[in-house]
C-alpha cells in the first residue's frame, strides 16, 4: 500500500492545528501534536508534542511529552519529558526521565524516579 510521506495523517497521529482551540477533555491511544490551544485535561497513551506557539492550560498525561510551547498545569509521563529551550512550563513535571534545555522557563516541582549509582550509596532512590 502506498503511503504519503509528507502527510500528517500517514503516521496515524492527531494534529490540533494553528488557529484551533479545544475546550474540554481529550483522551486517546495515539500521538497528538498541538499547534493551537487547549484548555482541558489531556490523557494520551502515546506521545504528546506541544509545538512552539501552542498553549495548554490543563494537566497533561502521556507516555512521553515534548514541550516547545507553553503549559500551565502538571505534566505526567510514563517515559521521557523533554522541555525545549523555547518552552514555558508552570506546574509539576513527573516522568521517568526529564530533560530541560537551556533557555526554557520552568516553575514547579520536578519529580523523577531513578536509580542512584552505587558510588553514591544508593540501592535505587528517589529524588
Amino acid at each position: 500500500m502506498a503511503r504519503a510521506s509528507n502527510s500528517s495523517t500517514s503516521h496515524g497521529g492527531a494534529v490540533l492545528g494553528k488557529g484551533a482551540h479545544i475546550r474540554g477533555r481529550i483522551a486517546g491511544d495515539g500521538d497528538l501534536r498541538v499547534e493551537g490551544s487547549i484548555s482541558g485535561d489531556v490523557t494520551l497513551k502515546g506521545q504528546l508534542v506541544v509545538d512552539g506557539g501552542a498553549e495548554i492550560v490543563a494537566d497533561v498525561q502521556a507516555s512521553s511529552v515534548i514541550v516547545e510551547g507553553a503549559i500551565e498545569g502538571d505534566i505526567s509521563a510514563t517515559e521521557a519529558v523533554t522541555i525545549r529551550a523555547s518552552a514555558r512550563v508552570s506546574g509539576a513535571i513527573r516522568g521517568s526521565s526529564i530533560s530541560i534545555e537551556e533557555g526554557a522557563s520552568v516553575s514547579g516541582r520536578i519529580e523523577a524516579d531513578f536509580e542512584l549509582p552505587p558510588e553514591l550509596g544508593g540501592k535505587g532512590g528517589r529524588s
Partner: protein
C-alpha cells in the same frame, strides 16, 4: 494536508473551534465550529452540533449542522439532525434523518 486531524483512537469531550479545516477520524462529543471545511471520515463518531463552511459526512454524525456553503453526505455516511445549508447532496448509501433548511 489538513490543519487539524482528530485521529482514530482520540476522543474529545468538549468544544473544538478552528480557523482552518478539520478532519475527524476519531470521536468528538460537544460542539464543533470551523471557519473552513469539516470532514467527518468513515469510522468517525461525532455527537455534536457542527458549524462550518462546508461539511462532508462519511462517518456518523448526531447533531444539528449548519454550513455556509454545502453539506455532502457520502456513501456510508449517517447524519441524524437538522441541516441548514444552501446546498446539500445525499449520496446513494447514505442515511439521513432530520429537517433540511436551504434558506430559500
Amino acid at each position: 494536508m489538513a490543519n487539524t486531524v482528530i485521529a482514530h483512537g482520540i476522543t474529545i469531550e468538549g468544544e473544538l473551534t478552528s480557523d482552518d479545516d478539520v478532519v475527524i477520524q476519531g470521536t468528538l462529543r460537544g460542539k464543533l465550529t470551523s471557519k473552513d471545511a469539516v470532514n467527518v471520515e468513515s469510522g468517525a463518531v461525532v455527537e455534536a452540533d457542527i458549524s462550518a463552511s462546508s461539511l462532508s459526512v462519511g462517518g456518523q454524525v448526531t447533531g444539528n449542522v449548519t454550513a455556509s456553503d454545502r453539506v455532502d453526505l457520502m456513501p456510508g455516511g449517517r447524519l441524524i439532525g437538522d441541516v441548514k445549508a444552501s446546498r446539500l447532496t445525499i449520496a446513494d448509501g447514505a442515511s439521513f434523518k432530520g429537517n433540511v433548511d436551504m434558506d430559500v
